[in-house]
């Protein structure tokens, strides 16, 4: 789920950059100093997650963990994911520097959105917290694929075609990440409840 350099047109890139910039400033303002280690750890988790491939049929998709980052950080997911994407672009040539805006927004925004939707569930009992984490983690990926498909409308022409391929490819990923996020949420709830903002 990284859009490469040279695929998108300038207006799409610009729109992505502006939207991400808004998210970034909001996120940086909201970070408290004592939260920064948490943000850094999640940045590196996101950074490494993209290297893990899960074979699905003829092709394979990699983990994203944008749901986990979003559920634990809220708006701070923007700077967290942005830093990882910059390093992925520089070190691994995943995505590209010009597409940073679009990629950041389509990964971080779903996480932020579901953070606000499922935040209350996370603070309830253990079962509710797991379900909240699962849904947040899984849905953030699926919404991310929709955002990516939207930004590819111009290049790929058939929106439903791309969206359908990406969605089916990422269904198993969404399931796995839902479980990961669910477990991380209940684990943190038990050992360090203040980490769940």
């Amino acid at each position: 789920m990284h859009i490469s350099e040279g695929v998108l047109s300038a207006p799409v890139l610009l729109a992505g950059a502006v939207l991400s910039l808004v998210g970034l400033t909001l996120g940086l303002k909201k970070i408290k100093n004592e939260d920064i280690p948490k943000v850094a750890v999640l940045s590196s988790a996101f950074f490494v997650a993209s290297l893990i491939h899960i074979p699905i049929g003829p092709t394979s998709a990699h983990l994203v963990l944008n749901g986990l980052v979003g559920m634990l950080l809220g708006w701070s997911a923007f700077p967290s994911i942005f830093v990882s994407l910059v390093l992925q672009a520089i070190l691994f040539q995943f995505g590209g520097l010009t597409t940073l805006g679009v990629n950041t927004f389509s990964m971080a925004m779903p996480g932020v959105l579901f953070y606000y939707i499922f935040r209350k569930m996370i603070h309830k009992g253990k079962n509710a917290a797991f379900i909240g984490g699962f849904l947040g983690g899984a849905l953030a990926i699926l919404l991310g694929t929709i955002f990516i498909s939207v930004s590819l409308i111009e290049t790929e022409k058939s929106f439903t075609g791309v969206a359908a391929t990406l969605l089916t490819m990422h269904l198993p990923i969404a399931f796995i990440e839902g479980i990961i996020t669910g477990f991380v949420v209940i684990y943190l709830k038990k050992v360090k409840p203040e980490a769940l903002g």
């Binding site: 040279g6 695929v7 490494v48 998709a61 691994f92």
Partner: protein, 189 residues
């Protein structure tokens, strides 16, 4: 505790997978008026049945072809200038390779001309065109091994190594440390 948990998670990931992702790379070389190339994903698996577009130095599309089951492609062109090969692999992935312009190799022939004339008298049946063809064939056969080796090296270079991963994590912590420092200074002043 939380940190330990995440670090074990990260290390499990790193050791479980020889890291790969959906980056697409392409490589091509010339052989006379033929251009031969290959397209592959970062883990070395071929990029099958994908469209290959070729542009000249002015950015004009001159031809289009597709890769075969092994990710290989070839085409003929008279264009000796710089060629840009673009492979849009779908879902937002794309590879690009610039093939340098083919420079004329005629200078060497002129130097050898006096000797050749003597040879020509002795063996008039072999003209310079045929000699060139024979040399080309012999060279191609010899160079094939080296070409394969270059291809393998390229694939290896494109693979992600653990140094990059560890380095990247280090950078992330460094960047966030800096942000923390700046924030703390702002709060103090």
């Amino acid at each position: 505790m939380k940190k330990i948990f995440f670090f074990t998670l990260i290390f499990l990931f790193v050791y479980n997978t020889i890291a790969e992702a959906h980056k697409v790379s392409a490589y091509a070389y010339r052989e006379g008026d033929k251009v031969i190339g290959e397209c592959y994903f970062v883990d070395g698996s071929p990029c099958k049945n994908s469209v290959v577009e070729v542009y000249d130095s002015k950015g004009k599309k001159i031809l289009q072809t597709t890769t075969d089951e092994k990710g290989k492609f070839n085409f003929k062109t008279q264009e000796t200038g710089e060629l840009k090969i673009v492979i849009p692999a779908g879902e937002g992935h794309r590879a690009e390779y610039t093939l340098e312009s083919a420079k004329s190799e005629k200078k060497e022939v002129k130097k050898q001309e006096p000797i050749k004339e003597v040879e020509k008298k002795q063996t008039p049946s072999v003209n310079s065109e045929e000699i060139k063809q024979i040399i080309d064939e012999a060279m191609d056969a010899k160079l094939q091994g080296i070409r394969n080796e270059i291809m393998d090296l390229r694939k290896k270079m494109d693979k992600i190594n653990i140094r990059d991963i560890i380095g990247g994590i280090g950078y992330i912590f460094g960047v966030w440390g800096l942000i923390m420092l700046i924030k703390r200074r702002k709060n103090a002043s």
